[in-house]
Symmetry: C2
Subunit: 146 residues, 2 copies
DNA sequence: CTAATGTCTATAGCCACTGTAGCTTCAAGA
DNA sequence: TCTTGAAGCTACAGTGGCTATAGACATTAG
């Protein structure tokens, strides 16, 4: 059995984050020691490691909740899990495309500035006038993490 | 003079967002009509349009605050503005690199799944075990918007 | 035994909004 | 002129995914 600190170290997750996950019901309530401290099994470590990895891959906690409950039913078909992963891939590709177009605009902006006074600064000018942009870079639609 | 609704339409910004920007001091306090409603000049529209465009390009409100105050001093050199834009470009490039590596992993994951039961699902398996990943995809370090 | 570290709960804060409730004001039509 | 409906007002709560703080209790090493 691991204390919360050891668990956090082992999984690479900060202690308050683990308590937060428990609080929102992503992780089950931990067993407690005689002195009311949380104790975790090896299985709990696997679960938290799964959560961490999925977070690193950009899945939302809601998606992870679903993935966890799917992984608790190994005999079910995996179509639902695959669908979640495909949706995540699509989301990442969407963000990627948007960031790529932002990068183009920002690069152009920075490159075009000759470095005089603010009055002549291309950065300030372009920010004030989207029609100076080379292409579209739609409204930011919740850009999520990483 | 424009009402807040007209201003929002003209700039493509929602009304509550405008009030929020005023509240946090990003926009100056608006003049008021006899009946206490906000009234905006053409200059205010320019300012809000600038803010919107900068947000679309991913600048934080703090960065925009600085950019706005720079653009209020047209005789100063533009190095500070350029530095902010370059930092933003660097940030975007960092996110882009990370998203690109996430995309690779997710694609691999999805492609490798043969579609049987959860017990054999590659998606679930890889999520539980990062060593099955082809490359690194560091810890998510605050991924900001869009 | 004591001191240092770890853990406990509860609460507030972060960013950039968005939504709600319960009012007041305004513009247009009858 | 009266009425209706849209638009505006303030103040506050909620979003996601944590992170930080305060003040009390538990555990462990020396
Ligand atoms: Zn410049
Ligand atoms: Zn633009
Ligand atoms: Zn599968
Ligand atoms: Zn991995």
């Amino acid at each position: 059995m691991l204390t919360i600190g050891k668990l956090g170290q082992a999984a690479g997750v900060k202690v308050p984050t683990i308590r937060y996950y428990e609080q929102i019901g992503l992780l089950p309530e931990a067993e407690r020691s005689a002195g009311n401290q949380r104790l975790y099994s090896r299985k709990a470590l696997d679960r938290l490691t799964f959560v961490r990895h999925a977070r690193e891959l950009g899945f939302t906690l809601d998606a992870i909740r679903d993935l966890l409950s799917l992984s608790d039913h190994p005999d079910q078909p995996c179509a639902a899990a695959d669908a979640i992963a495909k949706a995540q891939l699509a989301e990442i590709e969407k963000r990627l495309a948007r960031l790529a177009s932002l990068k183009v605009e920002l690069k152009r902006m920075v490159a075009q500035c000759a470095g005089g006074s603010i009055a002549d600064c291309r950065v300030i000018e372009v920010l004030g006038n989207h029609s100076l942009c080379a292409a579209e870079h739609g409204p930011r639609e919740s850009e999520g993490d990483s």
